[in-house]
Point group: C2
Chain length 345, copies 2
DNA sequence: TCAGCTTCCGGAAACGTTTACAGACTTTCC
DNA sequence: GGAAAGTCTGTAAACGTTTCCGGAAGCTGA
C-alpha cells in the first residue's frame, strides 16, 4: 500500500508538501498542489487514518450507539436506517464519517460505551435509548467527549438532547379518545426503565387530570417493544374484570400485536375497542382499520441530531453556533379509524 | 486523559513493561502484571486505538457495510440487528469490535467502500447486498482486505460468501403452489440488479421446468423492497388480463402490501389468491391468514459470517481453519394458510 | 542595492503505542 | 565456583501522519 512517503518520492517533493497540498493548506503552489492531487489519485493514496488521528488527536469519525437487542431500544421498524441517513447528510459536509456502534445484547451498555470512548475511535457520539438514570451520560461528560442523546434522562446536567415528543403524543392521544367518549383508557408502557416511558406516562396523567379522569394504575400495562408485547398487552386488557375501552401504545411495533389479539377475540379495532399507536411506521400503514398514530421524518431527525452534535464540537462550533441544543421533536397526528368510534356501553 | 506514560510513571516501571503486562505477554512478572492491571483500572487507562493500530498495522475492528436505503438492501433493520448480534458474539472472543458502516443513500457504494478501505479503519469487512456484478469485490481483493460477502456475485473469484438459499426457497415455494393446483404463478423480484434476484429467478425457472410449466416473463414483476412495493406488485397482477392465481415474493417487506391490495379488492389470500412470502419476519407473523414463508436464525447467520470472516484473516486462520467458506444458508419452510387453497377456476 | 515582505518548500519533532534487543539479575547444573 | 540458561525489565526504534520552524527564492519599494 502506498503511503505519503512513496507519494512524496514519486513526486520529488517532501512529505510535508504532500500533506499540505492534500489538506488544502494555503502555503503550497497551485501547480504543485495539482501535481500532488493527480499523483494521489493515480496511485490511489488515501491518508492512513491511524497515523492522522494519532497526530491530530481526532479521528474524523463520529459514533452512533444503538443496541442490538430490539427489546432494549424500543424503536425498530426501520427507524434507525432513516436516522443514519439524515445524520450522514450533515456529517458529509465536513468530511466526517459515521460509525454505528451496536452494543451486543449480552454486554452492559455503559461498559460497552466506556470501551468505545476509551479507544478514542470517534470524536463524538450520538447515544440512543436513554434510560431514566443513565450512567452513560456521566461517563461521556467525564470523558469530555462531545455527545448528543436521542432521548432525555435525569442523569447529567445541561447536556444536549433531542427527544421525541412523547408527552405531547400522550396528551393528544388521550384528548382524542376522551373526545370520542372514552373514560377508561389503558396505556402500554415499556417494561424497562427507558426514559421515554416516564415522559409518556407524564403526558397521560396530565391529560387525564385535564379531563378530570382519575388515574388508575391498574390500566398501565408494561410490555416489550415488539409485536408480541402488543399481543400480551391486549390479552391482559381483555382479561380484566372492568375492561377498558381504549388503549394508547408507546411502541410502533405493538400495534400489530394488539390488532391480532383483538381479531382473535372477534373485536374490531375502532368499533369495539379504540387503539392509538405511536409512530406511523411502514407496518402501521398497512393495518386495517387504519391506525391513528403519529408521523415524523426520520431523515430530518437525523439531520437535527447531526447538527446538534456538531454544535457541541469545538472544531465546528463556529459553523453551528446553536450551543447546547435541547429539543423536543414534534410528531404530527395521523388520524385513522382505529379510535373513531364511541365505546360500546 | 491518561496515557501509557502516565501509567508507567505512576507505577515506577517502564512503558514497555506496562504494555507487555496489559497485552498478556508471558515475559512479565506476575506480581508486576497485577499491579499494572490494578493501576490501569484505577486510572481508567485504555490503550489509544490510533497509536496501537499505527504500530501494529491492524485496528482490532471489523466493518459491516450496509446501506442506509432500505430499498437498496432489501432488509429491514431488525434483520441486521439480529445478524450484528451474532457477528459480535464471535468477535468478542478475540477482542475485536464491530463497526457498522452505513453507506449514505446518495453515495455510490463502491466509492464509499473505497474510502473506508483506504482509511484503514478496519481489519476486515462484511459486505451485504451484493449485486450481480459488484465492483466492491474486486476492490476488496485488490486491497487485500479480508472480507466475506452476505450474498454472491459474479464478480471476483474464489472469495468467501454466505448466501441465503434463494434458489431453494423459490423451488420449494413453486413446488407447494403447484401441488396446490396452481399453474399460473407470478414472481415479485427486486427492481435493481441485486444478485439475490437472479438466484431467485433461477430457482423459479428450475421448478417450473420440473413441473413442465412454461416460464412466462410477463408474470415477473419488479418492485421495491417495501410494503409499497408489495402493494404495487399485487396491483399489477390484479390488473392483468390473464390473471395469475399465485405470487411468490422475494422480500419480507412485500407481504403486507400484497395483503393490503388483495383486501382492498375483496380478495382473500389463501382462498382466492395464493401468496408465499420470503423471510418470516416479526411482521409476517402477524398476518391473517397466516403467511407461508421461510424461517432462519439471524443470530446463527451472524455467527457464521463472523467465523467465516475470521477464517480469512491470517491472524486467526489457525483458530478457524475452514479456509474460504462459501455457504448456502438454508431456510426452513413455515407452512401457513396463505397458499393453502386450490385456485378458483 | 538592499532591507523587508511574501511565497513556497524541506527538515524534523511529535502523537501513543508495540516490540526487538540488550542487559541485569537469579537460578541451575556440572 | 563458574558457565549456561532462564526470568524479568528498560531502552529505543518504528508505525504514518501533521505541523512548527527556518530558510531560500522572488518581489516590492525606497
Amino acid at each position: 500500500m502506498v503511503g505519503i512517503r512513496q507519494l512524496a518520492k514519486h513526486l520529488n517533493v517532501s512529505i510535508g508538501t504532500v500533506s499540505r497540498a492534500l489538506n488544502g493548506r494555503p502555503d503550497v503552489h497551485d501547480e504543485t498542489r495539482k501535481r500532488v492531487l493527480a499523483a494521489a489519485k493515480e496511485l490511489g493514496y488515501v491518508a492512513n487514518q491511524s497515523g492522522r488521528s494519532l497526530r491530530q488527536g481526532s479521528t474524523n469519525a463520529i459514533g452512533f450507539m444503538i443496541e442490538s437487542s430490539v427489546e432494549a431500544t424500543g424503536n425498530s421498524d426501520n427507524f434507525f436506517l432513516g436516522v443514519f441517513d439524515g445524520v450522514q447528510q450533515v456529517l458529509a459536509r465536513h468530511h466526517l464519517d459515521l460509525l454505528v456502534l451496536p452494543c451486543p445484547s449480552d454486554e452492559d451498555p455503559s461498559e460497552y460505551l466506556q470501551r468505545m470512548v476509551a479507544r478514542r475511535a470517534v470524536d463524538a457520539m450520538i447515544v440512543s435509548a436513554t434510560h431514566r438514570v443513565d450512567h452513560r451520560i456521566d461517563l461521556l461528560q467525564r470523558a469530555r467527549l462531545p455527545f448528543v442523546t436521542l432521548g432525555r434522562s435525569t442523569s447529567g446536567d445541561g447536556y444536549p438532547w433531542i427527544d421525541l415528543d412523547f408527552e405531547g403524543v400522550a396528551n393528544r392521544a388521550i384528548d382524542r379518545l376522551v373526545a370520542n367518549g372514552h373514560r377508561r383508557i389503558a396505556v402500554a408502557l415499556p417494561s424497562n426503565d427507558i426514559n421515554l416511558g416516564f415522559a409518556f406516562l407524564d403526558g397521560v396523567r396530565q391529560a387525564l387530570k385535564r379531563h378530570k379522569i382519575r388515574y388508575d394504575p391498574s390500566l398501565v400495562i408494561r410490555a416489550a417493544s415488539s409485536e408480541q408485547g402488543g399481543y400480551q398487552v391486549a390479552h391482559q386488557l381483555l382479561a380484566m374484570k372492568e375492561r377498558p375501552t381504549a388503549v394508547v401504545l408507546i411502541y410502533e411495533l405493538m400495534a400489530t400485536g394488539v390488532y391480532r389479539r383483538l381479531n382473535e377475540g372477534g373485536i374490531v379495532p375502532g368499533r369495539d375497542f379504540a387503539v392509538v399507536g405511536f409512530r406511523e411506521s411502514p407496518m402501521a400503514r398497512f393495518l386495517s382499520p387504519t391506525l391513528t398514530c403519529f408521523r415524523m421524518s426520520l431523515r430530518d431527525l437525523g439531520v437535527s441530531l447531526g447538527e446538534s452534535l456538531l454544535a457541541t464540537m469545538p472544531a465546528f462550533a463556529a459553523v453551528y453556533p446553536q450551543g447546547v441544543v435541547q429539543k423536543i421533536w414534534p410528531l404530527e397526528l395521523v388520524p385513522g379509524e382505529s379510535d373513531a368510534q364511541q365505546p360500546v356501553r
